[in-house]
Symmetry: C2
Subunit: 347 residues, 2 copies
Amino acid sequence: MPSSASIKDVAAAAGVSVATVSRVLNDHPSVSPDARARVMAAVDSLGYRPNAVARSLRTDQTRTLGLVISDVLNPYFTELARSVEEEARALGYSVIIGNADERPDLQDHHVRTLLDRRIDGLLVSPTDGGSPLMLDAARGGTPMVFVDRWIPGVDVPVVRSDGRAAIRDLVAHLHRLGHRRLAIIAGPAATTTGSERVTAFREALASYAIELPDFYIGQGDFQAGSGRRVTDGFLDLPEPPEVVFAADNLMALGALDAIRARGLRVPDDIALAAFDDIPWFVHTDPPVTAIAQPTTELGRAAVRALVDRIEGRPPASVTLPAHLVVRHSCGEPRSAQPPTSMERRAQ
Amino acid sequence: MPSSASIKDVAAAAGVSVATVSRVLNDHPSVSPDARARVMAAVDSLGYRPNAVARSLRTDQTRTLGLVISDVLNPYFTELARSVEEEARALGYSVIIGNADERPDLQDHHVRTLLDRRIDGLLVSPTDGGSPLMLDAARGGTPMVFVDRWIPGVDVPVVRSDGRAAIRDLVAHLHRLGHRRLAIIAGPAATTTGSERVTAFREALASYAIELPDFYIGQGDFQAGSGRRVTDGFLDLPEPPEVVFAADNLMALGALDAIRARGLRVPDDIALAAFDDIPWFVHTDPPVTAIAQPTTELGRAAVRALVDRIEGRPPASVTLPAHLVVRHSCGEPRSAQPPTSMERRAQ
DNA sequence: GCGGTTCATGTAATCGATTCCACGCAGCCA
DNA sequence: TGGCTGCGTGGAATCGATTACATGAACCGC
């Protein structure tokens, strides 16, 4: 079992003390070329690898970041996670992902586990208004950054995108196409993105003198099942909406399911738009008009902010704009297609 | 900073020794009710949480599993990861995910990092034929289980699904629809799933006396870009295939992109089928005929096998069947739709 | 009343690293 | 030559837990 060699074995094999081995490993300047060579030789003859657990205990740092996201099955978050890991790796950190599945209890479970492991910092996209645990962690000095969603009133940097302008563009687009009865599938009111998107939508409608009545606001939870349920509710209304705007891509998927189950067509029978753009929206029937976030950039910026905080530099909040991508799901544009997300993401 | 309290602080606050505190924490039977109560009180007055790093160092176990998957952006793997985490959590383990992005070097990076952290066991879906590092780890006694893909000749349990029967069903379906020129977008030959799917496809064709010429075998890498490139190649052929079978869902997405870019229609101009079924395939234009794996079951079984191995029980390899889900992308069936994947996954 | 259990507890070793401190040895300058 | 500086090195403390072993008290039956 070569993997079980410890620094002591290396020291013995090289004929030096453990202190010297450690110095070689952390390339401390004060070690003779001769000793260094002997240690190196011993290291790879034994296949020695330093024990990160022991090192962390001693140095009180794990070079690990925790990322608690709301839902791994959501392509938006999975892309975010990917970009976070990439940037973290570039900066010499590992990432441990916790999937909250939109459940506050699971979120707490992961936060607790990550804290127990003494991660150096925490990236969170909170599922709720803030559990005591997370609040304590933030106040207790754990380096922390919110990404995508945040908790108001907590002194933690936020990296997110502002979708308000894009939502205004969307409403303008819908209005131009003649739609007047617009409904929204909202996310949980306890999340910032959940409430902000509704507010922005309502305000944008107001500038066209259109109201957003309560029965056109469906409570979803950012997952597909709720999109289906809420859409069913809309379709059962005496006067169903002409457009459904889903506050995330999974609820849009659910809406598509519900519409399809009734044999209705998009956009002829009902139009659909979504927040969050994903590669699949290019290929759905019809391609879905969506609001795209600069996801990769968001992940990168979040990691940079967190690492700044960890390494003692002042971290900065970042807000990036989102933008509207018009496709066919709200009517009209059947030609002159914008580049697909696949094309944009091609390497 | 309440989070920095150590077992020593608790012992002091409770007026007992650290040994007693430790005993209470690990609920060792031999501790008086009185001492237990005092310790508990101290614990939550200090907000004490045991340091998992220190504990791991001492006990030589981290209660953590490593999962190295080929591509997080692939919905198949993300679903797998989710199920793995779920089962692991149920058994009292955490999971650290490493995304190899189909790159052997990245795969090695993650394997190394995970080994350095002394994870208790490793779940791998190998990107290549096996790096020395992974082989050493397997031989060196690190508990390990392959999931989805595996490396032949290594004595490690494999949890996977067998797609051969489903591929036969697919070919029968295609043949019945009159298709005779069939092409495949293969995965990397170095991966078992990459080569097996081609072999199974060729054998199934053979039973209809249909050949699979080299120019109808495109080399992909399981990612979308390669699906696009290969499909472009097929379409440029003097005699393009009537059907393209993509060996995973991302390459199918790429194929869809390529087909669409030329203004062609599925299935009228060219038919498409994919390995791996995902919720989006119900909503693409047209809905895609695909081979579905019991992904959630695979994740669960893999974790159980690994934990068996870790805890000293004999681990078992598991092979589960995949099955064909017929939709419209190969022609014909326009009615009598099977339940959508959304419906199957509804809670 | 005494040897032997059992039970609750504390002392101290240990896990595998890092790092402070001290020591010995060169080299250098006065 | 004596003292100072600086470098390479090793000894030992330390991080925060777990746990083997020792100890002492209480209790049992004979």
